[in-house]
Amino acid sequence: MVRVSAVGDRDTVADRETLERTADERLVGTTAIERTGAEDLEPAEELLTINMGPHHPATHGVLRLVVNLQGEVVKDLRPVMGYVHTGIEKSCEDKAYWKVIPFVERMDYLSYFFQMEAFCGAVERLLEMEIPPRAKYLRVIHMELNRIHSHLVWLGTSALDLGAMSMFFYCFRDRDKILDLFEMSSGQRMHTRYFQVGGVFEDIPLGFERNLRAFCAEMPSRIDQYAAILDRNEIFLNRTRDVGIVSRERLLELGVTGPLLRAAGEPWDLRKVGHYLCYDELDFKIPVGTVGDGYDRYRVRMAEMRESVRIVEQALDGLPEGPWIADDRKIVLPPRDELSTSMEALIHHFKLVTEGFRVPPGEVYYPIEGPRGELGCFVVADGSAKPARVHFRDPSFVNLQALRDMCLDGYLADLIQNLAMLDPILGGIDR
């Protein structure tokens, strides 16, 4: 359109060069390769291979990624791990069953209650032992708090990777409240060793319920605040939406479970179908995504935190009275006050502390729903007081195989986003 200037003949149509504009897609192409012109800059036979990590702040631990790059487009990717491998599975074979618990907690250092439950549950199944209802509820309360805690750390660090620094501080503020609760019930902030074979170590103290209710009342509004910060953040949306999509079928082939699988539309949650602890008696929903991109993974985890708060509240309401640990003196330590009055209690205490309890021969695989997916514990007992084999099927370890599918033919910068939304914990991967 030619606008006639008031100045008149100084500005004639013939002198003009109109700058035409076309749609962005036609200018720059549709794929990452076309957009960056990578093929012209770097032919396929001259790919650049670089190491990301092991010391890279965005790899959430010591993970090394060998990345083949064409321009800034990822053409191939191989994870290299094992930098924090400490041989926990081997060490467990040399420890009595009750001494294994603190070991397995330190595998995936953000979901220690889940590791404990996987191991203790497997041993309880080997012993054919039923735990008291109060212990089940206390375990569920602590595991769901742990899930919120784990997701908060994920949210803080992932948002940090994508440039939202304040999220890190907000999330750690709330995480600290959960750690305060753990400290109240068990005396430890992390790696609490709260679950025992047969129940939990100690009943919750006075005041725990009040603090927990205060936390549950506050947390949903906190999650709303976090969602409000990120859901309207242009950078966050552009970096997560439609990035790293892997189809549901492919994820199932790769054995991916947890929020990653649910974000792709598969409503698979072992809490619903596994019939363990008291999850059958609690009412909660499984958040499921539709697209399966980074944004869905974020939304699924946010919704899971809300559901976990609901589970904790319900478990607190329905918390039954009664013992918190099974009354089996061959397996469970006698109460402390009995030691000074009862000879049998002293003998049992001595036997349990020095040798530990024996577990009849057998093998069991016990899967539970951890914050990252199916956390399975496989225990082989040979009849002695030490396990013959302890294996953890760690969800991070298996899920990491999907990273290549998420990143191929995407930008290198999206790799950071994909890794953040994958949420691997290297302590669990390397064990």
Partner: protein
């Protein structure tokens, strides 16, 4: 998990389809397991995955146990899962140790059938020295590449390896190499 008669039916069908593939079945702690001949493992896994009515399409875990001094020595466990019916089935391959000192027990890789097994087979190779024939990239995964030995075998001693500090480097011959 399939109940005891269901497990027997599966074993029977498998033995009809591939003679001698299932050696034994057992039910333990509410978990069903098939003990399978090492040669027929891929047939069994493929049959369990693809046969209508079975459809154990998800492999949740692959792990190995060393039953020393039991015979056969190794057990390779495949934890299969049917997500629709929420049924788990363990396929256990009894894998004897090989006589030669520098030979390793071998089994077919199931990466073609279950791509999720790629890392887990590497882990089994790394820790137990079990070679998965046909695995696309069978290298150590968690231990260092130049590590010697199979650390999770039962006859591998538990103990530390000397860590090199400045105060003890003179005691380690040719540490600088």
């Amino acid at each position: 998990m399939p109940d005891a008669p269901g497990l027997e039916l599966i074993a029977q069908d498998l033995n009809t389809a591939f003679a001698g593939s299932v050696e034994e079945t057992y039910h333990e702690h509410d978990q069903a397991a098939l003990i399978v001949n090492p040669e027929g493992v891929l047939d069994v896994l493929g049959w369990l995955r693809d046969t209508p009515g079975q459809e154990y399409g998800f492999m949740s875990s692959l792990h190995v146990a060393d039953y020393l001094p039991g015979e056969p020595r190794f057990g390779v466990h495949y934890e299969l899962l049917n997500m629709a019916r929420v049924e788990r089935l363990r396929v256990k391959v009894a894998l004897p140790d090989v006589a030669g000192a520098d030979e390793l027990p071998e089994i077919d890789s199931c990466v073609e059938l279950f791509p999720t097994a790629e890392f887990q087979e590497r882990e089994a190779y790394d820790f137990f020295g079990i070679v998965f024939r046909g695995h696309p990239d069978l290298r150590r995964i968690l231990m260092p590449e130049d590590y010697v030995g199979w650390p999770l075998r039962r006859d591998f001693p538990i103990g530390g390896e000397p860590v090199l500090f400045t105060h003890n480097e003179v005691e380690m011959p040719r540490w600088y190499e």
